[in-house]
Symmetry: C2
Subunit: 227 residues, 2 copies
């Protein structure tokens, strides 16, 4: 499989993390754990794509100079953004949360119960609506020292805090977002929440969120965004 | 079932439209078509919830005065936004796209094929990331004459046009977004695209999108947002 990637992107991290849970990594020197091999065996979709021992190929795209997005991604994704995962048969997948749900089907990372699946999706849509557009954009301007349009940062800070408050309400009294266990919902929300500080967000007011971040980071096979 | 609703919301329209495709409406005087009864019989999840002939109950929330969202929705949804659909057993569903996917499971409106399902989700995530936040917000400020923060409308117009361009690329040469037929992906994207003009967006440059809007509106059981 080929992943059009950006090393700093929380969206791309989600895909690398889900693939790692299936024992598929760019680094060939890391042997899949028995748990990862079992998850890959359980995967019910994209089976052909997963049933191979070739390492993941990464193609890194520039975060700042996006002038090549049309020529590189145009035939693969109408939205011209990373991540795009190309299966071995050439079929491209776009949108990070939709990619990891595809990969997780049949594994413990995506619940089989209809109501729990609805909750997983609800959290993932929330992530793309209230977390990513605020936390990731604020982080981008700070990390890369790109001057934001006037007023943008204040707006992103306020909206991002509202998103973090909603996440905190969802995590209150819970170990994980859905089904009492670690799922793709946690992977999706972890992507940008765990680097919130890089966007100037203080997680001090969100104790349930902080405990959950630690719990996700303690999962077997956890991948650092810098890995 | 009880739907916390806003009559003008494209997100709430999606849920009312999907329910109508299953013959479930607030208006008791409309008899479900044989096609709608068949779709309801095919629904594999939330079966108990769908297997009843009571009309849909709507509870309208104010678009401008949102001060009651916490007290009304707090126990039902961490994100405190409509739509929220409460099943007859009391379980709440939040996030419009996640709700309609739940309702559509097993019906022709949600493909069974893994790759097609991935494409449906990808378009729905795109909708919440690039269409809704731009088209719906611009529309809100114009429809309700609410003064936007400085610079916001120009930013929403530019980002909304990028979203519409991506949608046009996705629809080029196609009758529908996924699987060659009308699915929940079309319902999700139609929600705000068909009222783009109310947000000040001109659809003239997007002929594939305009033809697709007509095609969606011609579906049996199509619901107007004003219905």
């Amino acid at each position: 499989m080929l992943l059009y990637n950006s090393a700093v992107s929380g969206n791309c991290w989600k895909v690398r993390q889900m693939l790692a849970h299936l024992g598929i990594r760019a680094d060939e020197t890391i042997e899949p754990s028995p748990e990862e091999v079992a998850a890959r065996d359980a995967a019910t979709v994209g089976r052909e794509a997963l049933d191979q021992d070739r390492p993941l190929e990464l193609r890194e795209l520039d975060v700042l100079d996006r002038s090549d997005r049309g020529s590189v991604l145009g035939a693969l994704s109408p939205v011209l953004r990373v991540p795009v995962l190309v299966l071995d048969d050439g079929r491209p997948l776009f949108e990070s949360n939709a990619i990891i749900d595809f990969l997780a089907e049949g594994t413990p990372y995506l619940p089989a119960d209809a109501y729990e699946r609805q909750q997983v999706l609800a959290w993932q849509f929330f992530e793309q609506y209230e977390i990513e557009p605020n936390l990731a954009v604020a982080r981008f301007h700070r990390l890369f020292d790109v001057e934001p349009p006037p007023g943008l940062m204040a707006q992103k800070q306020a909206a991002g805090r509202r998103g973090l408050e909603a996440l905190e309400r969802g995590l209150a009294g819970r170990d994980f977002l859905v089904a009492g266990r670690y799922t793709v919902a946690d992977i999706s929300l972890y992507g940008y929440t765990h680097v919130a500080a890089e966007g100037g967000f203080d997680l001090e007011p969100y104790p349930w969120t902080r405990a959950w971040l630690d719990r996700v980071a303690a999962q077997p096979g956890h991948l650092l965004i810098t890995d």
